[in-house]
């Protein structure tokens, strides 16, 4: 089996170690004999996202984010085609925000986003910036899991119809500490950096499984030894008094 990943703006949207997620997806596939092919989709690159199994889009600083807007908007049709083709999406922070309606940055400028989903993001006041460790409880297709990560975002995301999970510790979509992220069965959007996947191996496998579905249908993944991963997660859960 081959898993193809389209990695959007890998050299710009690469804040807070988000590339660690790609490292995890790659290794957890390869350990099971699944080859991984990565296609970089940077500014100006001619890449057909609908040919991918998974599209990954990480976070970046405001300034970097605004520099890629024109290129991103030019791909809107191709992104819609990928969604129709059943491609799985993993969007972190900036990537997550840009799939919504618009983003109002710290200086009050409105940046029109892809407008694929109804949610929108407004940069909070500087004292409202959500920074710190975060834990989120998710129910994902019958599988319940707790994700731990680190959030660092000024943007507050509103009108999320289908959140990824409930905030147990930290902030999430808004400083109100209720829900985190977005998930509609195909697109995952989240504020969790850390990076997200190394210490959330069950979630990494969930993403791999969902991504394989497009080309290979329902697949069962061999279990891997996750002692180190779960120890790393449990240390954080204990610190947040959730364990």
């Amino acid at each position: 089996m081959i898993l193809t990943i389209g990695w959007m703006y890998h050299d710009i949207m690469n804040l807070y170690g988000d590339k660690g997620n790609i490292m995890v997806l790659k290794k957890r596939c390869e350990d099971r004999g699944i080859d991984v092919r990565i296609s970089y989709c940077d500014i100006g690159d001619d890449v057909d996202l609908s040919a991918m199994d998974l599209v990954f889009f990480g976070g970046g600083a405001d300034k970097e984010q605004s520099s890629l807007m024109r290129d991103l908007l030019s791909r809107k049709e191709n992104i819609q085609k990928a969604l129709d083709a059943g491609v799985m999406f993993l969007l972190i922070c900036g990537g997550y925000q840009l799939f919504g309606q618009y983003y109002i940055d710290a200086n009050g400028n409105r940046i029109d986003a892809l407008g694929i989903f109804d949610y929108y993001t407004v940069s909070g006041k500087s004292e409202e910036r959500c920074i710190g460790n975060i834990a989120v409880r998710c129910e994902l297709e019958g599988q319940s899991m707790t994700l731990v990560g680190f959030e660092n975002h000024g943007g507050q995301t509103y009108d999320v119809a289908t959140p990824l999970g409930d905030v147990l510790f930290g902030h999430g979509n808004t400083a109100q500490k209720k829900q985190e992220g977005f998930y509609n069965g195909q697109v995952i959007g989240t504020y969790l950096h850390g990076p997200l996947l190394p210490r959330n191996p069950e979630f990494a496998d969930f993403v791999i499984m969902k991504s394989l579905r497009k080309s290979y249908g329902e697949q069962c993944l061999e279990p891997l030894s996750d002692d180190m991963e779960l120890a790393a997660k449990n240390i954080m859960l204990k610190r947040m008094e959730l364990l």
């Binding site: 050299d11 490292m23 600083a61």
Partner: protein, 433 residues
């Protein structure tokens, strides 16, 4: 209250000194008694500030020692107490009871986030800005926001700005601080293989266009130009030429940096550029470089029987990458011990370890990687997912971690984050007795 603040701060400083402690506590007392204490001190002498992400401590210490070689009376925060309380402590310990600071030069390393405060309260003559890299984003938010806040606080500055010519984020200050006299320093192009490092200098800070690099030295330090607006590496920089290991030339003189590392040559060049601005004889700096002892944990080499233990402070991707490059040069078998803490001074977000290129040391001579500290498992996962195939050993306790490393008959490289450095240093000291 000024007098009382000085008295209490001085006395507490002496008491701490008796117990071989230094630090920021006297400054904290003084600020509580007299919040405007810095403004009330009378400084006779040139005030030089060094700020930026990496190289502050080394540059400030080399500058202070070079000035002493030039027979100047210098007050400096040599131990790296670079935030508000530490700076106040330093200045009060050098002041008379009445608050006079009588010296030729005050050399202050200042934390980037404390610079606006220092600008407001001290009469600063010269500011050296070394570079800006990703560093503790949980504390500093985004780097762009940090730089913008520094630009705002420097806007009216009328003194001398000494800027790294090869960092677009330092060169931009020449545009955003209109009344300053600007001087630049750099080093001639070196062959490099850095393409995959986390870079901050991708876009033009003036117009937002993507920058074109003729050449990278390390990270985003290099020769850049914006093809849209013309923003570029200045031509009139004081340059190090003929760089070979530690040695480099400036005009007709040869110098030796304290360490065989390009970033150290940039630190030396900042000192030499400052010397030019002050019209001092650069040969004095040459002597200071030769006798310079690196601060604790900056490539500190300790002898453990027939092996060496090398201690490195690491705190952000760029500094870490430079350390990893040095380890990668060692062709003899060795063990790497990485202590990762996530206390506020280390940065509570440990994601930066994924922006650091640990894969560089996944070569044959690295026989084992041991991880320790409050986020030991996270450090171990970084190695695992980076593809390190040999043993990864996790030890919560620092003594156990060092012991695990010493079970191998090889030299040891210890990488420690800020709060892990002193405890690790004392654990190593314990076994060397």
């Amino acid at each position: 209250m000024k007098m009382a603040a000085i008295v209490f701060a001085k006395i507490s400083g002496w008491i701490l000194h008796l117990f071989h402690r230094g630090g920021s506590y006297p400054g904290q007392i003084a600020l509580q008694l007299c919040p405007m204490i810095l403004k009330r001190l009378q400084v006779h002498g040139e005030v030089i500030v060094i700020t930026g992400t990496n190289g502050k401590t080394s540059t400030a210490n080399m500058l202070a020692q070079s000035l002493k070689q030039a027979n100047k009376k210098v007050i400096s925060n040599a131990k790296g107490d670079n935030m508000r309380n530490g700076i106040v402590s330093t200045l009060i310990s050098g002041a008379t009871w009445k608050g006079y600071i009588d010296c030729d030069m005050v050399v202050l390393e200042v934390d980037e986030l404390s610079l606006p405060y220092v600008m407001e309260h001290l009469p600063i003559d010269d500011i050296i800005i070394t570079n800006f890299f990703r560093d503790q984003l949980d504390r500093a938010k985004e780097m762009e926001q940090l730089i913008q806040s520094l630009e705002a606080s420097l806007h009216g500055f009328r003194g001398n700005l000494i800027l790294n010519a090869h960092d677009p984020n330092t060169v931009r200050f020449a545009h955003s601080v209109p009344h300053a006299q600007c001087y630049f320093y750099g080093a001639e192009a070196q062959a490099t293989d850095d393409v995959e490092e986390a870079k901050e200098g991708t876009f033009c800070p003036l117009c937002g266009n993507r920058l074109t690099y003729a050449h990278y030295q390390y990270s985003h330090i290099g020769t850049f130009a914006c093809e849209r607006c013309g923003f570029q590496t200045p031509f009139n920089a004081l340059m190090a030429t003929d760089v070979a290991g530690k040695s480099f030339r400036v005009h007709f003189h040869t110098y030796e940096a304290p360490l065989d590392a390009l970033y150290m040559i940039y630190n030396c060049m900042a000192v030499l550029c400052m010397f030019d601005v002050l019209h001092l004889e650069k040969q004095c700096a040459k002597k200071a470089f030769q006798t310079f002892v690196m601060p604790m944990g900056r490539n500190e080499i300790l002898q453990d029987g027939s092996r060496t233990i090398t201690l490195h402070l690491i705190k952000n991707p760029t500094g870490t990458n430079e350390v990893l490059k040095q380890i990668a040069k060692d062709e003899n078998e060795h063990v790497v011990l990485f202590v990762l803490n996530d206390h506020p001074q280390d940065g509570t977000d440990v994601s930066w370890i994924y922006d650091s290129d640990f894969e560089r040391i996944f070569h044959d001579p690295t026989v084992c990687i041991i991880t320790g500290g409050s986020r030991a498992y996270e450090a171990a996962l970084r190695m695992k997912y980076g593809g390190f195939k040999k043993d990864i050993i996790i030890r919560d306790d620092l003594k156990d971690a060092l012991q695990a490393a010493r079970e191998y008959p090889y030299s040891i490289y210890v990488l420690a984050t800020y709060t892990a450095l002193a405890p690790m240093r004392s654990v190593i000291g314990g076994v060397l007795k």
